[in-house]
Structure formats: structure tokens, C-alpha cells
Symmetry: C2
């Protein structure tokens, strides 16, 4: 696979999961080079083959988490909260100088429809604290249901609230949001506001079950 | 003022404030009898006169907080977080057996656009803990901007996420939501999920400032 130096390379750690692989597919379709990171390199490579076949191109590659983080310009983390800290520790060195887009939602299975406030208040704040000032953490994509991501003809009816303390990093993430059909990026403030965005996800999962729907999302009103 | 025994009486503690008085006006317009509660009974009476004049009826009455809580069937609390605990202590006895609809957002001025997680994780959870099992606490209305409430011709473009542990109490609050033009009630789960709903308010205040708009709100997508 040759890489175009002008095209950003995105690593999605947890890219074999439902949410992660959906994002991989959407970004690959939009022309990004995408690396799937997994603890199991073979699984990552298999998922990459599968997704390349869906879009009929060869722009997705499967690596282990550290390799993916090292090779990427920007790293997206979409893993179960129970694995969050360990994976961050394993890639911390490879991440220095880069942007981490944290999609992780702090829930405690089996209570996946009840808000859980972790010790550091939010997964993203915990990530920032663990990675230090050399990594700019941005929180985004938590409220996008994985249900419709694999269906490339389905426009995603959801705003993406983007939180972070670095304006340039937020701008880069805005571009990733708006590369996916239907999504609109909304600047939701400093990284401290990720508490609200993360906590909204178990609420949306509750709403999905309560109203028997598959992909509840949110839109901010009053912006136009 | 004569009261129709079939019409529910709502007390709004903090009903002289912007959010509280807007809700008072909307419910009075919808045919509810509404009591404004305040620490200062004279201020409550003055605000009641003012709002009765707006709707051209005499259905709003101003009382002190305890008197309003005692006389009401259902009590709404819309106060600055700094006053939350003290007011709850003062009305705890008068509240027993009733529903408390807590609209309070835990923020720490001057940082009103940054999420603040209080010791009890949410104002509503703190209220439930303080009032005990004799009061059914429901969290609602946090994300409705006060900007457009006073303009009775303005339909409110916002869903109201309703959290609580008692299904019947949530049903009663659903009726209060849908009495106001434009609002749609969405069952957002147990009271623990109020963390998300409360935390969304400083995010919306950030969005108002960032995008130079007055009344950003939210809609849940994917429900129809």
C-alpha cells in the first residue's frame, strides 16, 4: 500500500469493535488512510481485509495498538472502558505530540443504560491526565450509534459534540466529523465538558431500549 | 382566588427567577394553578401580579417557599445550585408524599459554561438523598433555555429528558412537559441518569456563547 503524504493517517484503536469499525469504514470511504489497532494484530488484519472489501479499495491496514498509534498522525480510541487505562498506558510513548480522539464511554456492565461517573469524572479527562501535556486529547463521537455506521448509504442523523482544550486539535477533529455524511460537529467547550457528552451515551442506550429504536442520537437546536 | 379541585396546583420554588418564572407563565397559560415560591414572599407576590397581567387571568399566587410547597400537589425547584440544599432542608417536611421536579443545574459561578460534578454526582440525586423515600424526585427541564419562555407565541424547540425512579411520577411530569408548546418529553431513565441531563446545560450555555445564539436546546433523533 502506497501512502499519499498529503492524506492524514488515522489509527482507530479498538477498530475491530462495532463503533470503531464503523468509523474506520466511514473515514476510509472519505479518502483517509486508516489503521485498525487491536491487541490482536491478526484480528485487526482480518477486519481490515473485510472492510477493504466493502469499499473496494485497499486503504485500511490492521496493526497492533502500539504499531497503529506510532504510524498514525491522529489516534482515535474506541474501547470498552474496562480496557481504557491499560491501552492508554501501552500507547502513551507512541502518542506523544499527537492528537487523541477519545470515544470511550465510562459504563459499568451490565448497567450499560445507567450513567456511571468514573473517578476522574470522565474517560477523556482520565486519558489527558494519564498521557500528559504532550498529547492533545479531544472528546468526540460518543453519541453516534454504531447501528447505522456500517451501512454506507445511511446518513447519520446526529450532531457530534466536540470537547477539548486545544482549538487547533478541535479543528482537526471537526474535519473528521464532517467527512461523515449527516454528522455535524458542534464545539461543546473544554475537555471538562466531556462529562456531559460521555454521560449522554448510556441515556441514549436507555432511550433505544425504552422506545424500541436502534440508533437514537441528538441534534442541537437553535443554531441556525 | 378560587381553586378548581380537578386542576393540579404546581409550586415553582425559585419562581421569581428567569427559568422559574418562564415555566410559571407557560403552565398558568395551560390552565394549571401555579404558586410562586420565594424566600421573600413580597417578591413572589409582585412577580405573580406581573405574570397574571401577562396572561390576563388570576391563576398565579406568590407565597414563601414553605407555604408554596405545602399548598401544592407537585413542587418544581428551579434555584441556583448554591441555594439548593438550604431550600430543600426548609421544605423537606412540607414535601413528604409529593413529587419534586428538580430543574437545578450544579454549576459553580463564574464558570457557568463548564460542567461541574457535585459531591453527590447530580443535584437531583442530592435532593433525593436529602428528602428521603417519602418524596419522589424527578429531574426535568434543565435543557430548556429561559430565553424564549416568556414569549408565549414562541414554540420551544427542545426535548425534555425526564429522569426518575418512579414510573407514575415520571408520567405526571410528562404531562407538565407536553402542556408547553413545542416541548416533547423523552423518558431518559433512572434518576442516576440526571447526571447527563444536568451536565448538558453548561454545554448548551457554552454553545450559546460560542455560536452567538440565545436558546440552544436539544432534540433526540431516531425516535420516529
Amino acid at each position: 500500500m502506497e501512502s499519499d503524504p498529503k492524506v492524514m493517517t488515522i489509527a482507530v484503536l479498538g477498530g475491530t469493535g462495532r463503533e470503531g469499525s464503523g468509523l474506520v469504514l466511514r473515514w476510509a470511504q472519505s479518502g483517509y488512510r486508516v489503521l485498525i489497532g487491536s491487541r490482536d494484530q491478526a484480528r485487526a488484519a482480518q477486519k481490515a481485509d473485510e472492510l477493504n472489501a466493502v469499499i473496494g479499495e485497499d486503504v485500511i491496514q490492521g496493526l497492533d495498538n502500539v504499531g497503529a498509534a506510532r504510524e498514525a498522525d491522529l489516534v482515535v480510541l474506541s474501547v470498552p472502558y474496562a480496557a481504557h487505562e491499560d491501552i492508554l498506558r501501552s500507547v502513551a510513548d507512541a502518542m506523544q505530540g499527537k492528537i487523541l480522539v477519545d470515544v470511550t464511554v465510562p459504563i459499568q456492565p451490565p448497567a450499560i443504560r445507567t450513567v456511571y461517573v468514573p473517578e476522574g469524572k470522565s474517560a477523556s479527562l482520565e486519558a489527558q491526565s494519564l498521557l500528559g501535556d504532550g498529547v492533545r486529547v479531544v472528546a468526540a463521537f460518543h453519541n453516534v450509534s454504531s447501528s447505522h455506521l456500517p451501512d454506507l448509504d445511511h446518513s447519520i442523523n446526529c450532531d457530534v459534540l466536540v470537547c477539548g482544550d486545544d482549538a487547533d486539535a478541535k479543528s482537526e477533529v471537526f474535519q473528521l466529523v464532517e467527512a461523515i455524511a449527516g454528522m455535524r460537529a458542534v464545539d461543546a467547550g473544554p475537555l471538562a465538558n466531556a462529562v456531559a457528552v460521555e454521560a449522554l451515551t448510556p441515556v441514549l442506550m436507555y432511550i433505544n431500549k425504552r422506545y424500541k429504536v436502534a440508533g437514537a442520537g441528538i441534534r442541537i437546536t437553535g443554531l441556525e
